[in-house]
Symmetry: C2
Subunit: 197 residues, 2 copies
């Protein structure tokens, strides 16, 4: 039994890096157990006993209880920190962008990056709809960031941690960020705040 | 300016019905503005001015502020009610299932139901992977419900509200619920609690 948090994560996965970024930012000590999706380390009997959904990130608390889903983990670990607004509406808006990221952003940008960058598929073998949907997500972010420095508004929150992970990796998925200057500025701001290299 | 909550929703959408279920259960007065996705009512300039993402459900608070994403709306409206566990871990587990629903369940079961039931496509014209992924999601739910009466555990939470919406409509998507007796029992329990007819 370890006395600190255990994080099962794949360093190639933005969803997992979100948890690393947050732990590093808040100074949460943790053991990172590298768990490769491509190498099917999330499909072993051992891992499936911890998380039947076979997904990383997964955290195991010091008392042995487990928690899955990056959004839920971010909220569990981030609660009470300056990254979670106290105002109920601002808090809900942060959640809005976290749910939107998982539904409309990750499912296009992270999926195309997986096919192109990690699985090494040729562009012609990747569903073209992913590119369309990914650019639609980026355009929405650009529109928001032309009016606000962060998500949802004026200061860094868990929504920025959630959104930056795959947005900064979007070029690996074949998404040129050139047309999105406000996104580029925001990525730099968030990287500076989170000390991401 | 209305003095009560306005909900833009499509009665054919499980994501929107979640908000109706919660409002009815908690007695939250609201104006429901029927907003059809199929009829492209979410693509009008008027609607896009409210929600640039062009998605329902969308709520407009009495003071005019807007909030999107069913999960964020459920948490905003449900906070402080018996549907949100006070214990931080139980609360996080509820969130885990809400994020999982949007990422791994809705994207298969609701999408296949949309193609088959709402858009009227033939089975042969629907990506077969949706059926595979949907049944994988149902199998995970069945496994959970063999050990627990609700999501995440012993009593009704927002995760049940979120999960029941498309699970009870899964047969419209061509998902036979026969092999999932624990799901069938859970649907009946949640429908009774929420008074869904």
């Amino acid at each position: 039994m370890t006395a600190i948090l255990t994080v099962y994560g794949d360093s190639a996965s933005g969803n997992c890096l979100k948890i690393r970024y947050l732990c590093d930012y808040l100074g949460i000590a943790h053991n990172w157990i590298e768990t490769s999706v491509l190498a099917r380390a999330t499909r072993t009997a051992e891992f499936l006993a911890l998380n039947p959904a076979g997904q990383v990130p997964l955290v195991v608390l010091p008392d042995g209880r487990v928690l899955a889903q990056s959004g839920a983990i971010l909220l569990f670990l981030g609660e009470g920190s300056p990254l979670v607004p106290a105002d109920p509406y601002e808090r809900a808006r942060m959640l809005q962008f976290m749910f939107w990221e998982q539904y409309s952003h990750e499912t296009a940008i992270a999926v195309r990056r997986f096919h192109k960058h990690l699985a090494g598929r040729a562009d012609a073998d990747i569903d073209p709809w992913l590119l369309t949907r990914g650019h639609a997500a980026l355009a929405l972010m650009e529109q928001h960031l032309q009016a606000h420095p962060f998500f949802p508004a004026d200061r860094l929150t868990l929504a920025d941690v959630a959104l930056v992970a795959y947005t900064r990796l979007a070029p690996e998925g074949g998404f040129d960020l050139g047309p999105y200057p406000a996104i580029a500025g925001w990525i730099a701001r968030v990287e500076t705040e989170l000390k991401i290299e």
